[in-house]
Amino acid sequence: MRYPIAFLAGLCLASSTEAASGAGGTHGTADILDAGEWEIGLYAPLRRGFSGGWEISLHPLTALASPNVAVKKQWVDGGDWSLTSRHSLHFPARLLRALAREGTGGILVADATIPTIAATDHRLLASTQLGESTMLSLSARVLLGLEFGDSQWPSLDMPIAYPRTAAYQDTAAFAAGIQLDGPIWKSLNYRWATTVWALPFSEGRWAAESKTALPWRPTDSFTAQLSLTGTLGDYPYGTDWHLLPGFDFIWSW
């Protein structure tokens, strides 16, 4: 363990990427960025809004090792509900191979055989206003994975990562979520999101995550967010829970 900061950073980064990606104002909702608007976070992905109700995003931090892109399209806007779908494609094999090594930062065993993996993530998001200031969002999600070639590597049996990577080896994972967004006081807001995972083809069959976040938006172009995510899940070794603090900073222009 000669480079502990590096491996700690890598692990925290990996584990908090998804958790912190909810820092953007539209994450988890059926809203999308306005045309021409850009947004990037410390952990949250780079996003840009396009005319016609489109948004494209990618994680620049992992783009080279794990090429990824996501497209979000708003289908219904106005009326009581808005409806959006989000579709992403990524290729995580190169990143996983880089993490399969001896010594510090060896997230996977060095003798792991990791094939080419193509993974997709499809979400349907619906949002509506509750009263004057609270937004309710519901989501359904399907993750699909395909391996090409010999495969011999252990699953990532850790919170956040396990349900999101299970489909790489086990073909599919499903999730449903509920999210509330609203103001607390002045520029301080809240976000509460709970997601339940079903992993019917994996050894650990389910997971539940509940995240409470406090986004603070002192200006239109900056958001700071603290969050706490509680996880409870079934892993190959049994049921386990974790509490994961997180934070993110988002800049938009």
Partner: protein
């Protein structure tokens, strides 16, 4: 807007925030050990005259596989079949020797490398031992090094009779390692169990596995603390058995370095060298009843060897010990090295040989 410096400076609190909740590697100075029971109880003797005590470091059910950190080793995670076949061999050994008290070191419990098999429960469910106590020596929800992943291994004490109390007493950590390294590194301890053996009052079994690598005297401190713990039990009038893998040689060892099993290939670790440690165990031999009489050892080191890193050269040094507050039954104490010495071929079971002795109950 250049956000790079801000991003870099914010990594530190990110690490700190992850530290306490993601890895969970730490222990209190004294805490309760985990207690186990066999799925089905085997009636234990009620009239006890002798106690057969065995100590064995079982190398987390790895048998003689060579792991990545060993000389010439290339193995990481075992298959479930490998783990159960190795554990079955250990179970067979236990069932053939039928110990009353079994002290184990390097027992895996819910570790990725051994297929998340709870080895304490596995052994209890297949032997006449009914009760167990376990304390972790190395535990992490996720060890991000060498692909270790989830890890929990430590010491276990198994008994035919109920374990009334079981405490984990933390031993000093290696002071020369930086704090972040210590956070993830092994946490040595003493596992003290009080066992309700019929006819014995206040009977304790004290199980430990001491530091293998330390240049700063930590191993010496751990030996001293082990000695103090045993002396404390004697002071309170307890009857006790204490021992384990002390990772130290007795006085009068003919070889202190360049052992026959030393790695000649490229290796992660330097060869063991016990020079300067020759008298570290002396106080244990002076103050307590050692299963291994020092004079016998000094006249024939080889008969008491209990470890080898290379099965092809046989046992090469003495690392495993049993002490007691009471005298051991003469002629019944030895290292079970082979069919010829101990009546069982133990080389395939682990890199350590079992040490056995008989304690007379109310002699």
């Amino acid at each position: 807007m250049n956000t790079l410096p801000l991003r870099a400076s914010l990594l530190l609190p990110a690490l700190l925030s992850c530290d306490a909740t993601l890895f969970r590697t730490n222990f209190d100075p004294v805490e309760d050990a985990l207690l186990y029971e066999a799925k089905e109880m085997t009636p234990a003797p009620t009239g006890v005259e002798d106690l057969l005590v065995i100590n064995h470091n079982i190398k987390y059910g790895g048998g003689r596989l060579l792991f990545f950190w060993e000389c010439g080793g290339d193995r990481y995670n075992m298959t479930d079949e490998e783990v159960t076949s190795h554990l079955d061999a250990i179970v067979e050994f236990i069932n053939s020797t039928e110990p009353d008290i079994l002290m184990l070191q390097e027992v895996d419990r819910l570790s990725l490398r051994s297929g998340y098999i709870d080895q304490v429960q596995y052994i209890l469910d297949r032997t006449s031992l009914n009760y167990g106590a376990y304390a972790s020596q190395h535990k992490a929800d996720y060890l991000p090094s060498d692909g270790m992943g989830k890890l929990d291994f430590g010491n276990a004490t198994l008994s035919r009779w109920p374990i009334e109390t079981a405490e984990r007493h933390a031993l000093p950590l290696v002071g020369s390692y930086p704090g972040y390294y210590r956070y993830f590194y092994l946490k040595r301890h003493i596992l003290d169990t009080e066992i309700a053996v019929p006819g014995m009052e206040d009977f304790h079994v004290v199980n430990t596995h001491l530091e293998a690598f330390s240049d700063d005297g930590t191993k010496r401190d751990q030996i001293d603390q082990f000695h103090q713990h045993l002396a404390g039990l004697t002071e309170q009038g307890a009857v006790w058995v204490g021992g384990g893998d002390l990772n130290s040689l007795p006085a009068g060892s003919e070889t202190l370095k360049e052992f026959a099993d030393e790695c000649t290939a490229e290796s992660r670790f330097e060869g063991d060298n016990y020079e300067g440690e020759e008298d570290w165990l002396d106080q244990l031999f002076t103050d307590f009843e050692s299963l291994m009489p020092l004079e016998e050892y000094q006249s024939n080191n080889g008969a008491w060897h209990s470890y080898t890193g290379d099965a092809s050269v046989g046992w090469t040094r003495t690392l495993d010990y049993l002490f007691s507050s009471e005298p051991w039954k003469i002629g019944e104490g030895y290292v079970m090295q082979s069919e010829a010495q101990g009546g069982y071929e133990t080389l395939p079971l682990s890199d350590h040989a079992p040490v056995r002795g008989i304690l007379e109950v109310n002699p």
